[in-house]
């Protein structure tokens, strides 16, 4: 008979009380996709860096799991750690990754208001093209604005949950979203008629 799947709270209790490494591995397996995908968005598609930051995120989660008070979902708490890891790393390397990408974007033909590719006939192709355009548009946002968009739209968090993940007041999240959308509107204007 198959064993019933344990909830996040039950697995966390096992880790806290018995230092159960297998329970923590189950938590990692369960949440790795969401955390890595979020970091891939935050790092503008840098998969290697995203995976390094994801590993750092889970290491920090393991070390600090006793401080997790279950006031938010475990995934939201992980997003918070991941966002902090990303922002700290971005501060460390502020002059290379995003700076280079900004330069690349402006020199690759200023595609402000990028139009969807003509060849994007199928839904799949349209989705892929949209993703590329959104990734490029996200790259021009500030780190905090990009994190707000990723949490609210890609991770489908409410403003309150995003505020926990971003470790800032709800009003600040709303401001980031408004500013980000104002910038994205001009970058993605070509999609308005689609």
């Amino acid at each position: 008979m198959a064993q019933p799947q344990l909830s996040d709270a039950q697995l966390i209790a096992r880790v806290v009380v018995h230092d159960d490494r297998n329970a923590f591995s189950d938590l990692v397996r369960r949440h790795q996709s969401a955390v890595r995908a979020t970091l891939r968005r935050l790092t503008a598609g840098n998969h290697a860096l995203a995976d390094d930051l994801a590993q750092e995120t889970f290491m920090l989660a393991y070390r600090n799991i006793k401080s997790f008070r279950q006031e938010a979902q475990f995934s939201t708490w992980l997003y918070r750690i991941a966002t902090n890891a990303f922002l700290a790393d971005a501060r460390r390397r502020k002059e290379d990754l995003l700076g280079d990408r900004d330069l690349e974007l402006t020199t690759e033909g200023d595609d402000e208001g990028a139009a969807p590719a003509e060849a994007a006939g199928s839904d799949h192709a349209r989705g892929a093209t949209l993703r590329i355009d959104i990734d490029r548009a996200l790259a021009v946002l500030s780190d905090a604005e990009r994190a707000a968009i990723v949490h609210c739209y890609h991770n489908d968090l409410s403003h309150e949950e995003a505020a926990i993940a971003l470790n800032c007041p709800v009003g600040t999240v709303k401001t980031h979203i408004l500013r980000a959308k104002a910038k994205l509107k001009s970058r993605l204007a070509g999609w308005e008629s689609q």
């Binding site: 923590f24 290491m59 070390r63 959104i134 489908d156 709303k174 959308k181």
Partner: protein, 126 residues
């Protein structure tokens, strides 16, 4: 008609006719639907976890106890006669006591009173 976003809007309650909102939502749905294969990620994290204090060898405690016992025996042998002298003195002191029925009775009363007090304290604590 496109409504201007308001500060108190939640991303889940934005109007569907906001084209940018709809675009971001569509991309978000695709993003959530894409599951990233583990590809050894969990194993890498598990391997990088710090060593647990519980992972110390099981023989550590008995070995320490054995060392202490060996040390004690060594001290006893290093002081010849001291241990047996002390034991003899203790036995002599006990045997020198006068034992009477009254003394035994008093000791029993004191012991029973102590036990009853201890039980009463424990039960009150519960």
């Amino acid at each position: 008609m496109t409504r201007a976003p308001e500060m108190n809007d939640s991303p889940r309650s934005q109007p569907a006719d906001d084209w940018l909102d709809a675009l971001l939502r569509a991309d978000g749905r695709d993003h959530r639907a894409d599951y990233l294969d583990d590809d050894g990620f969990t194993a890498r994290v598990a391997a990088a976890l710090p060593a647990s204090p519980a992972a110390l060898p099981a023989w550590r405690k008995p070995a320490v106890a054995a060392l202490w016992a060996a040390g004690g025996i060594g001290v006893a042998f290093a002081l010849p006669g001291a241990a047996s002298d002390a034991a003899h003195e203790i036995i002599r002191a006990i045997l020198a006591q006068r034992v009477s029925a009254g003394g035994i009775g008093t000791a029993l009363v004191v012991l029973l009173a102590s036990a009853w007090t201890a039980v009463a304290v424990v039960l009150r604590g519960d």
